[in-house]
Amino acid sequence: MSNVKKFMYINNKAPYGTIYAWESLEVVLIGAAFDQDVSLMFTGDGVYQLMKGQDTKEVGIKNFSPTYAALGDYDINKIYVEKESLDARGLTVDDLMHLVWEDEDEDWAEKDSIKVVTSAELAEILDQQDVVLSF
């Protein structure tokens, strides 16, 4: 179909403190039904959205982080995390949830969804997008 566009969702805010991260994820999930070419990008404090072991009991806010694991089932498997943002926060990819998708073309082999990329690489990826939604 010629009507497939490249959609990029930029997430640059911490998961809690404001609702942007959670409501962004809601857009991504609804948008998945439209069969577009979807990528997600996590920069700045947005990288905290993917931290493993999130526990929000003490703050009394819903922990929505398990939802990210469902993205693979929605064919959303291009999740870019900015290396500089991880470095600045003393984090590595091992601090993040292990998000995977199953590749239909390779006998449903499980593959990693998260790619750590430099800001220069991210700029190139952004340049290829048709629609950029930032939250």
Binding site: K5, K13, I19, Y20, A33, L133
Partner: protein, 130 residues
Amino acid sequence: MKFGIQVNEGPYTHEASVTAINFIKSAVAKGHEVFRVFFYHDGVNNGTRYATPPQDDINIQQTWSDLAKEHNIDLVICVAAAQRRGLADDGEQERNKLDGNNIMDGFRISGLGQLIEAGIECDRLVVFGD
């Protein structure tokens, strides 16, 4: 060019709404089309008719309503965001058994698919807010 607009902030705390209004006025004046404005997050509060700002202040909700009528712009409030924040039209009032509704003339409440559709249909989707 055909524009889609997303407004992510409430009308008075943040300048995003007024900036979006100014952008739309300029775009239309230059002959562009604004297909739809999608209100998300606290942006849904742009669509209440119960705002009564001081007379020497801009009435942002009314400005949206007038702008939509004048230029035939589709103003869509996200239903999921609206339900969290207490924005309701007739349909929402009935479905959720509320004792009233507060949507401003010219707005309608619908799903997030309307935002994705705007992204697909428009040449540019422009997001206003942090």
